[in-house]
Each structure stands twice: as structure tokens, then as C-alpha cells.
């Protein structure tokens, strides 16, 4: 097993800069996910690790070796492709056997017809068949070994491709959106299987995806990429709850995080559309900040008549998902109305409706502890956010 170290990787295709000085350390046995929108350079980075693409500058180290000048087969990696890239003319057995066959036989022994004459090849073929069986057993695809990829379903092809990757016992598995061609339910299933496979093999996984659910559920750490740069590396929990900047915050989470301009007053009172929402001493002196409010940290205000810390919203649209309701609304402010999205438990909405508190205009409150504060450059200000001081809230309550 091995660490993977990327140092100052730069890559351009013609005039297009695809990777700008990317450095990343992947620990031995870690499940690292590269996530980003399409065109962010994540696949290119993976292909550079694989040796399928040469970097413009920078270096790649796998384990103890610099691999920059090694061909893919010498890097002790395996790759699973989005299209699976199984050889369509071979059976699953032959597909899985291919890497071993090439590793262990001479070119002459692999030639059609002539190669079959070699007694050595026959012996090696026996050994390889054992290895193939072992892998097939692990992946539960033994009954499929004699079929061709064209006769398999998407999930079965996926397993065959995994088998071909596993059979050589590589130090590093590289996966390029391996689940994106599967239907939704199979994807959920394969997600767990991949995570399980990673635990069992203990190998280093580098996994590329644009699907944040895959990234959040499977990875040990996530590297979020945009425009050829890594924006943040951290555990799924870190990047979600402590995003480095607004771009990271906006990429993760569905529906998207609400980013709203807020004024900072005095010792750090955050005022959103005239309402004192919270207090963060670290934001003092900023003038204005961007508040990040996750849709799930917005809740309907209860029966509390004072409506402390509450925001008044005009409801635009409701999307009923059964267990929860996505609320699209506008914040009533003095200036241009700011859009706001919230995820509300269906039960809470039903209760509010029953109590006559859910009309075109509703009041919501935001959990101050979940507020994210970004400075004018979009960088997050690490802050302990407290509920707004009563002194600041009172004038608003009186006005309302």
C-alpha cells in the first residue's frame, strides 16, 4: 500500500490551463475523493496520477517512488473508468485476466495461435485462472465469468471492471466516476460496496466524482476542486460545516446554501434586512459580511409572539418531497428582496398550517450556531456565533 504525493502539478491543453499548481497528499490506505463540477480538472489530475497524461510540470510520488517517468503499468495502480472500458470481445474471465497475462507472459506467448504452443504460458494461465476465480468470488461474479460485457447489466459490468482492477493487487485504485452510469438505486448499493471494498482491501483509493453524495458518504477526505485548483481538503464533515470559502460552501449541500449580504454593527451584531440575526465578535469591524445559511438550519418560528431573531419571509414556492418541504421564499428587506431556500420538516409545516401560521408570509428563525460568516473576499471567518444580544433585538421587536 502506498501514499500518493502530488507536488505543484501544472497541466495545460493548448492555451487552456487545466491544472494550476495542484498539490495533494493522499495517505496510505485513505479514501480520497476529488470532487468538482465538470471541467474542473479532477479527471485530468487522476489521469496524471495514472500516467495516462503527462503533467506540464510538478511531480507525482507513489509510495517511495517518483513515478513521473514510469508508464502506467509500472506505477502499480489500477483504474476503473466511467465507461468501465471492458474489452468487448473478451469474456469477463479474460478481461479480468488481462493485466496478469500481460504482467507474467512474454510478448511472444501472448500472440494469437503461436502463444498457445508455449507450455510456460499454459502453466501461467492456470495460476492466473486461480487469481481470477479469487477475485470473482470476492465480487460475487463467478457465474458471469464466461459472458461477454455486452451480455451484462450495468452493475455487473461495474463489478467486472472492479475485478480487472483488483486482480493485480495494486497499491492505489484510481476511480473515474465509476458509478455515474448506474441507475439511482444501484448507485446507492454500489456506494456501500465500494466503501466496503476499500475497508477490506486497505488500499489507497483516489475517487473522482461530481456527485457530492458519493463524496460525502464514502470518503475519508474530500478535495474540492474548481477551475484547476484545489479549494479545500478535509473530511466530509469539515468541508461541509467549515468550508474555507463561499465557493466550497456553495458547491456542497443541496439545495444550495443561502449566501446573503449582512451588515455588521458595533461589536459584531449581524443584521440581515434590518433584523439582528446573531452576534459574532470576530466579525466586528468588517462593515458587511456574507452570511451562509444552510437550508436545513432554517426553522419555522414557533408560537413565541415576540419572534425573537426571526425573519419575515414571503413564500414563493413549495416543493413537497413527502418527508420534507423545500421552501423558496424572499426575505423582506429594505433593499432588493433576497431569495432564500429552506428545508422544513413536513410535520412542522403541517403543524404551522394547522395553527394558522403558514400563509403567504411566514416567520422563520435561524440557528445561530450553524451560521457561516464570510468576509468580502469570500473567505470564511472562524467565529463563534451567538444569538443576537437582547439589546439589539428589542428595537426590531418593538418595530414589528
Amino acid at each position: 500500500m502506498a501514499r500518493v504525493e502530488l507536488r505543484n502539478i501544472v497541466k495545460a491543453f493548448g492555451a487552456t490551463q487545466v491544472l494550476r499548481n495542484v498539490s495533494l497528499d493522499v495517505d496510505d490506505g485513505e479514501f480520497m475523493t476529488l470532487i468538482g463540477a465538470s471541467g474542473c480538472g479532477k479527471s485530468t489530475l487522476l489521469r496524471i496520477v495514472a500516467g495516462l497524461e503527462a503533467q506540464g510540470s510538478g511531480s507525482v510520488r507513489i509510495g517511495e517512488r517518483m513515478v513521473d517517468h514510469l508508464r502506467p503499468r509500472q506505477r502499480r495502480i489500477a483504474m476503473v473508468f466511467q465507461s468501465y472500458a471492458l474489452y468487448p470481445h473478451m469474456t469477463v474471465r479474460e478481461n479480468i485476466a488481462t493485466p496478469l497475462m500481460i504482467d507474467r507472459t512474454l510478448l511472444a506467448e501472448r500472440l494469437p495461435l503461436v502463444g498457445r504452443l508455449s507450455p510456460r504460458r499454459r502453466r501461467i494461465a492456470g495460476e492466473i485462472d486461480q487469481a481470477v476465480r479469487g477475485v470473482a468470488e470476492l465480487l460475487q461474479i463467478e457465474p458471469l465469468l464466461d459472458r461477454r460485457p455486452g451480455q451484462l447489466s450495468g452493475g455487473q459490468r461495474q463489478r467486472a471492471a472492479l475485478g480487472r482492477a483488483m486482480v493485480r493487487e495494486p497499491q492505489v485504485f484510481l476511480m473515474d466516476e465509476p458509478l455515474s452510469n448506474l441507475d439511482a438505486s444501484l448507485r446507492v448499493h454500489m456506494r456501500r460496496e465500494l466503501a466496503d471494498l476499500h475497508r477490506r482491501l486497505g488500499a489507497t483509493f483516489i475517487y473522482v466524482t461530481h456527485d457530492q453524495v458519493e463524496a460525502m458518504t464514502m470518503s475519508g477526505r474530500v478535495a474540492l476542486m474548481e477551475a484547476g485548483e484545489i479549494l479545500q481538503v478535509g473530511t466530509p464533515n469539515e468541508v461541509y460545516h467549515r468550508p474555507a470559502n463561499t465557493r466550497v460552501a456553495a458547491f456542497l449541500g443541496s439545495p444550495r446554501i443561502n449566501l446573503l449580504e449582512a451588515a455588521v454593527e458595533g461589536a459584531g451584531t449581524l443584521r440581515l434586512g434590518g433584523t439582528a440575526l446573531a452576534h459574532a465578535a470576530e466579525a466586528a469591524g468588517q462593515g458587511s459580511v456574507t452570511l451562509g445559511i444552510r437550508p436545513e438550519s432554517i426553522a419555522l418560528t414557533g408560537d413565541d409572539p415576540a419572534g425573537q431573531g426571526g425573519l419575515s419571509l414571503l413564500v414563493d414556492d413549495l416543493e413537497d418531497l413527502g418527508h420534507e418541504i423545500i421552501l423558496h421564499a424572499r426575505l423582506e428587506t429594505e433593499g432588493a428582496p433576497a431569495a432564500l431556500t429552506a428545508r422544513l420538516p413536513a410535520a412542522a409545516v403541517a403543524a404551522a398550517r394547522a395553527a394558522g401560521r403558514f400563509g403567504n408570509r411566514i416567520r422563520v428563525e435561524v440557528d445561530p450556531a450553524s451560521l457561516l460568516i464570510f468576509d468580502r473576499d469570500g473567505l470564511r471567518i472562524p467565529a463563534t456565533v451567538a444569538p443576537a444580544a437582547p439589546a439589539a433585538a428589542h428595537p426590531q421587536a418593538a418595530a414589528g
Binding site: L52, I77, A78, A85, H89, P112
Partner: protein, 312 residues
């Protein structure tokens, strides 16, 4: 079975007769729409073929007033006709030279040309030029190039100290010379087909092969390129075979079947019998034999190769 029968019968009594009539009208109008195309096909393909087959059982001669059915007489004559067997043998030798050479050469050139980036267009056009030319006209050019006395090729050979080769005058060489021209004409077309086939091979497969260790050109070719070109190869082989079987223009222009019948080929024999000796009946029999030949050949090829190139 019983269930299916029930289902078919059940709605019939319930359905109003209007629907049944509607269905009949639709079926009839369907045939009506297909009629013009069917008639055309009958008139220009099936009809003439039937006439040729019918004539192959007669002793009809062009311009003759009376003719009669002679049954399999023409076919009997064919079996004992030495010219027929010679042209058959020559055609086969020609096909055996032209098909493998032009297919393999076309493939090799396609692979080389495809990896060029800027020069690719130029090579494609250059190799394709012979396809666009009129073979009869080009045959005259070739007759000069390969002329036994004044041809530049022989001048060059003699310069190197070799003896002059009678490309079209030596009975042992003439078929090869014609095959050379045949290859020259076919390679470009095969190359274009192979290039189309090559560009449809997913790049992922080459990447997977590289990761699997197949990074030498021979491994890549055997593991990815060649198997993935299967359907293209099948098409190329079948069409090349048919074209090669139909060799005619160059024979007429350059050798007229000579010297000593060494370049007599099937189509040329048919032409001679039908339009020089006016023995339409016998020429028809030869034509039928030729058609059966191409048909069987293509079917066998398609059947054999088809099982090995479509991976499902």
C-alpha cells in the same frame, strides 16, 4: 398457447365491425404505399435477374430470330469449357492477391495516417485519389508506366541491372500486374473505411489497455485495435471481394484476356461470349454462375466473420 389464442379471439366479437374495417383499410393502404418501390425493384433488379436466369436455359443468340429452350445445356457446356475454367482460376488468383493485400495495406495506412495530426487530411486525399479516378483512363496511364519497352519502371529496373519485365506481355506476370493496379485502386477506399472504424474505437479502451500493461504497439493492436475493427474489417473484406471478383476494365483496356488467355477473367469471358460472339444464352449461364458465386462467397464470409466480430 391457449391463453394467447383466447386473447386473440376474445376481442373479436366485442369489437365493432368499424374497427375491423379500419384495420383492413390501413393494411391495404400500407401495401399501396409500398407498391411504387416494389414495382421499381421488380422492374430494375428482380425482373432483369429473372430474365437472365431464364435466358441461361436457352440457346438465344443476339439478333437471332428463332431460339429454343435447351434446359441445362449451357451449364453442361460450361463444365467442359476450358476457357471458363481458366477464367475462373484467373479470377480466383486475382481475388486471392488483391483482397488480402488491399485490406492489410488499407489497414496499415489507415493506422499510420490516423496518428498524424496535421498531415492527415493530405494523406487521406492522396490515398483516396485513385478511387475517384476513372479506372479505364488510369489503366492507360498504367499501360505506359509498366510498358515492357518504353515504361519508366522497366527503365529503372534496367538501370539497376535487372532484366526488363514484360508486365502485360509475360503470361506468368500479367495477372500480378493487373492485381497491382487493382490494389492501387482499392487501398484508398479501404483506408477510408478503416479510418472511420478506428475513430470509433473508444479512447477509454486504449487507456484501460495502458493501465493493464498493454502499452506496446503490438499488444495494443492485438488487444484493442484489431478486435474493435472486426465489423469494419468484415465490411471491407466483403466489399473488396465483390469488387475484385468484378475485375474487368483493366483487362479489357490492357490485355483483352491475353497473352494466351493468361489474364482471362470471368466478367471478361461473359463480355466476350455475349457481346463479341453474341451467344446471349451461354453468357447468361456464365452470369448466373458468377452471381451464385459472389452470393455464396459473401454469405459464407458474412456468416463466418459475423459470428466473430459482434461481441454480444
Amino acid at each position: 398457447m391457449a391463453l394467447a389464442a383466447d386473447r386473440r379471439e376474445a376481442p373479436a366479437p366485442a369489437a365493432p365491425s368499424g374497427i375491423a374495417r379500419q384495420e383492413r383499410v390501413e393494411a391495404a393502404s400500407g401495401y399501396l404505399f409500398a407498391l411504387p418501390a416494389a414495382l421499381l425493384m421488380l422492374a430494375i433488379i428482380l425482373g432483369p435477374s429473372a430474365v437472365v436466369i431464364a435466358m441461361s436455359f436457352t440457346n438465344y443468340e443476339l439478333g437471332a430470330i428463332d431460339w429454343g429452350w435447351i434446359g441445362l445445356g449451357n451449364y453442361g457446356e460450361m463444365l467442359s469449357d476450358r476457357t471458363f475454367w481458366r477464367s475462373m482460376r484467373n479470377t480466383f488468383v486475382y481475388v486471392l492477391i488483391v483482397v488480402p493485400s488491399s485490406v492489410l495495406l488499407g489497414l496499415a495506412i489507415a493506422i499510420m495516417v490516423q496518428s498524424r495530426i496535421r498531415a492527415r487530411r493530405f494523406y487521406e486525399v492522396a490515398f483516396f485519389l485513385p478511387v475517384t479516378t476513372t479506372l479505364v483512363a488510369m489503366a492507360i496511364v498504367w499501360s505506359f508506366v509498366l510498358h515492357s519497352r518504353i515504361g519508366p519502371v522497366n527503365a529503372f529496373l534496367q538501370l539497376l541491372g535487372f532484366e526488363a519485365v514484360g508486365f502485360f506481355t509475360d503470361p506468368d506476370t500479367v495477372l500480378f500486374s493487373l492485381a497491382l493496379i487493382g490494389i492501387w485502386q482499392l487501398v484508398g477506399f479501404n483506408m477510408i473505411l478503416f479510418i472511420a472504424g478506428l475513430s470509433s474505437i473508444p479512447r477509454d479502451l486504449y487507456d484501460a489497455a495502458a493501465v493493464d500493461g498493454a502499452d506496446g504497439w503490438l499488444d495494443r493492436f492485438l488487444r484493442v485495435t484489431w478486435p474493435m475493427l472486426g465489423p469494419t474489417t468484415m465490411f471491407v473484406v466483403v466489399t473488396t471481394c465483390i469488387t475484385a471478383f468484378k475485375v474487368f476494365d483493366t483487362v479489357v483496356v490492357l490485355t483483352d484476356g491475353g497473352p494466351l488467355g493468361a489474364s482471362e477473367v470471368l466478367l471478361h469471358s461473359i463480355y466476350l461470349e455475349g457481346f463479341q460472339y453474341f451467344r446471349i444464352g451461354y453468357a447468361s449461364a456464365l452470369t448466373v454462375a458468377f452471381l451464385v458465386f459472389i452470393l455464396v462467397f459473401s454469405l459464407v464470409q458474412a456468416w463466418v466473420i459475423d459470428r466473430n466480430v459482434h461481441y454480444r
